[in-house]
């Protein structure tokens, strides 16, 4: 059967299980778009190629399936760079397909020619330049295998226009990946497992650090079984949220720079850290010299290059998190650890009093209230929250309590503003039955709000909660703490978001008092279509606690305590 390279691409994508792609056409990818019409593929037309990559990313994170983004050569390809880097930093499996000028024009600075494989080399797991139709099928198979295996990540396939147009015999079976760099995971060393179990069994003050890898590996139940058997408290990274139920008594919450005080105190006082599918990012550890000095460390991690990268560990289990946890389970003794759990409960101390949720309503609308109310309204259902980057992202992590896996999608490693709206659209495409909310600041929203048109055109019913404080809030907070409140370039204006929503032809509402929060959420949920709510929150609000960058993990700036303040008045 002779097919064009473009047809082979779609034949291959369909065989890889692809049903949805996110893209934007252009000259060098036209043959692929032309052939697409003959295949059972749902194409979502984005408004900017960055949006396509975030949508593919959101699609992937919502399901674990590989997300696919398509763009043309030149600017179409370079617009994808931020989204590819975002997926790389957060280990998200996406395949990006770009058109390229004809192979004979490569290197001539032809119109819309760019070296996208060169540009994306450090931000992809692997990338390909395909110059022959006969290489398309094998490349797609390899790309999908690489994207989803091991530690997942983005793969880019750049296909020249002549390779899309030329015809050759399509033989899927003959295109099975054979490349010598493939390394099967070796079985875990029983001695290392025994050593890890021994550390757990003898630990007095252990803490599990659960990361994104728990969900990528589908190891949620294995983690829970181990934690419950040995009464191991679980702290999560930002991307680990949802891997262990927030309502579980052993869940401590998020660790790190904006983790609750007791979580970081527990880590600093621990005598054993069991890190699982996380990479000791600087936002998690604070000052490495003083990080959990009294603790032995076990690192369960599928990527060997992460072992001993930031924190030296005593036992490394280089494996799929689920495999490692299941093999540890029967080696670990049941234990109640009531003393240690009581100590952590004690460390919570006055945190509840300091919590903004405990304060009487003073007429101001705080972001933490908005997010907590949203959780009360939609948290019990099959809901996916997609956050942008900044203060609202941290408040979401603190005040929205995720019990289900893959129910929070956020850009952690790269911290990509503009992520939320397109990633929410991708998540909704992947999980049409789930309720999908984007929580986004007024800064990040204005970066990619054009994608609302995508949601409208393709009937993707995402709900958008803008946490609007008229500032680039997290940067403003750093200026407040570390730059003497010199607010350089952080005050931010924006359009009338309600009028903007109407201009897109969708529902919009503005809220500026707490009493109106829940009714607005109810109204947005009632509407069968996308919706935007502009929550006009307190302008100079601060995310507490905060560990200043590079400071000791337990040297956090705490929330002001109303009791301490009133006593000193």
């Amino acid at each position: 059967m002779k097919l064009s390279g473009a047809e082979i691409l779609w034949e291959s994508l369909v065989r890889e299980g692809v049903t949805d792609v996110f893209g934007y056409p252009g000259g060098a990818i036209l043959p692929v778009y032309d052939a697409m019409l003959n295949y059972p593929i749902r194409h979502t037309l984005v408004r900017h190629e960055q949006g396509a990559t975030h949508m593919a990313d959101g699609y992937a994170r919502a399901t674990g399936r590989v997300g696919v983004a398509i763009a043309t050569s030149g600017p179409g390809a370079t617009n994808m760079v931020t989204g590819i880097a975002t997926a790389m930093m957060d280990s998200s499996p996406i395949v990006c397909i770009t058109g390229q000028v004809g192979s004979r024009l490569i290197g001539t600075d032809a119109f819309q020619e760019i070296d996208i494989t060169g540009i994306t080399l450090p931000i992809t797991k692997h990338n390909y330049l395909v110059t022959s139709a006969s290489d398309v099928a094998a490349t797609v198979r390899e790309a999908f295998l690489i994207a989803r295996s091991g530690r997942p990540g983005p793969v880019l396939i750049d296909i020249t226009k002549d390779a899309q147009q030329a015809s050759c015999v399509f033989d899927w079976d003959a295109a099975a990946p054979v490349f010598s760099g493939w390394r099967e995971a070796a079985p875990l060393d029983p001695a290392a497992l025994d050593a890890a179990a021994e550390l757990i069994n003898t630990a007095k003050r252990p803490v599990i650090l659960a990361g994104h890898g728990v969900m990528i590996a589908g190891a949620e139940s294995a983690l829970r079984a181990l934690a419950e058997r040995a009464h191991l408290p679980v702290a999560t990274t930002l991307l680990g949220i949802g891997g262990f139920p927030a309502s579980h008594p052993l869940n401590l919450g998020m660790m790190g720079m904006h983790g609750e005080a007791w979580v970081n105190v527990a880590i600093q006082e621990s005598d054993l850290l069991i890190a699982c599918g996380m990479r000791f990012d600087d936002r998690v550890t604070g000052n490495l010299k003083t990080y959990a000095r009294g603790a032995r460390k076990i690192h369960i991690e599928i990527d060997p290059s992460e072992i001993n990268k930031n924190v030296p560990v005593d036992v490394a289990l280089v494996a799929d998190a689920g495999d490692a946890l299941r093999q540890l389970l029967h080696r670990v003794e049941a234990s109640d650890r009531s003393g240690w759990l009581a100590r952590i409960a004690d460390a919570r101390g006055d945190s509840a009093v300091r919590d903004i949720q405990s304060l009487p309503d003073n007429g101001h609308l705080y972001a933490a209230h908005v997010i907590n109310d949203l959780w009360r309204a939609v948290g019990a259902g099959d809901t996916i929250i997609v956050t942008d980057v900044g203060q609202h992202q941290m408040w979401e992590a603190q005040y929205y309590h995720h019990d289900r896996s893959r129910s929070l999608i956020t850009s952690g490693g790269l911290g990509t503003m503009g992520f939320a709206v397109p990633a929410a659209i991708g998540a909704k495409r992947a999980r049409p039955d789930a309720e999908v909310w984007a929580i986004v600041g007024d800064g990040g929203f204005q970066m990619t709000m054009c994608e609302l048109a995508t949601a409208v055109q393709d009937g993707i019913h995402v709900k958008v909660a803008i946490v609007n404080n008229g500032y680039l809030g997290m940067v403003r907070q750093w200026q407040e703490f570390f730059y003497e409140r010199r607010y350089a370039a952080t005050p931010l204006s924006g359009p009338d978001f309600v009028a903007l929503a109407r201009a897109f032809g969708i529902h919009g509402a503005a809220v500026s008092t707490r009493a109106d929060v829940l009714p607005a959420i109810t109204e947005a949920r009632r509407i069968d279509g996308p919706s935007v709510i502009d929550f006009r929150v307190e302008q100079e609000d601060t995310v507490y606690p905060m560990v200043p960058a590079g400071a000791d993990l337990d040297a956090m700036i705490r929330r002001p305590s109303p009791i301490v303040e009133s006593a000193s008045d």
């Binding site: 494989t117 060169g118 080399l121 450090p122 797991k125 692997h126 330049l129 390899e142 690489i146 295996s149 091991g150 490349f179 010598s180 760099g181 493939w182 390394r183 099967e184 995971a185 070796a186 079985p187 875990l188 060393d189 290392a192 990527d303 060997p304 290059s305 072992i307 001993n308 990268k309 030296p312 490394a316 280089v318 494996a319």
Partner: protein, 180 residues
């Protein structure tokens, strides 16, 4: 920080050298020396990479290299008995009055004179890096016009199995379980 020597077997494909060298740049390791050429297996190129780093850095370099799809195998030769050689060509300003002296020095270093011109000589040496340094030091007073060095190539002494056969073994004995 000590010098670590790696032998890296890579698939002989376009762009592989760029992927390897970019990795060192990206992870902030400085390459002291890098040489590439064909090895014993058709379709597989063999690189010798020398990097100044500590033990942890060397372990991570190896782990990072193994994540590259086209890297077949990585051996660290640093602590193994091995042969390390470098080829250099040195052009020295030498006329009839000092030609004999230069040739005598070359002989001491087991270097060969491969070109003689009225006012210059080209000396070829294949030796360890320090011996090449030594030759250059003694030749410099005569006037080195130009010099070129290949960078180091290395091979372990004794029997070390071929890349195809040893892949699984190499993975297991490092305690690194890995798939791309």
């Amino acid at each position: 920080m000590t010098l670590h020597t790696f032998t890296v077997y890579v698939e002989d494909r376009p762009g592989v050298l760029n992927r390897v060298s970019s990795l060192f740049r990206r992870r902030a390791f400085n390459i002291e020396s890098l040489s590439v050429g064909h090895g014993e297996t058709p379709g597989v190129s063999r690189m010798t990479v020398v990097v100044a780093t500590d033990e942890g850095g060397a372990t991570r370099i190896k782990a990072h290299l193994l994540k590259l799809v086209h890297v077949v195998r990585v051996d660290e030769l640093t602590d193994r008995p091995s042969i390390v050689r470098e080829l250099a060509l040195v052009k020295i300003s030498a006329g009839h009055d000092n030609r004999a002296a230069v040739m005598q020095l070359a002989q001491v270093f087991d270097a060969r004179v491969v070109d003689v011109a009225p006012a210059s000589l080209v000396v070829e040496i294949c030796a360890s890096e320090s011996k090449v340094d030594g030759l250059l030091d003694v030749l410099r007073p005569y006037g080195v016009i130009e010099a070129v060095r290949t960078g180091r190539v290395a091979m372990a002494r004794g029997s070390l199995s071929a890349p195809g056969a040893a892949r699984a073994e190499a993975v297991v004995d490092e305690g690194i379980a890995y798939s791309v």
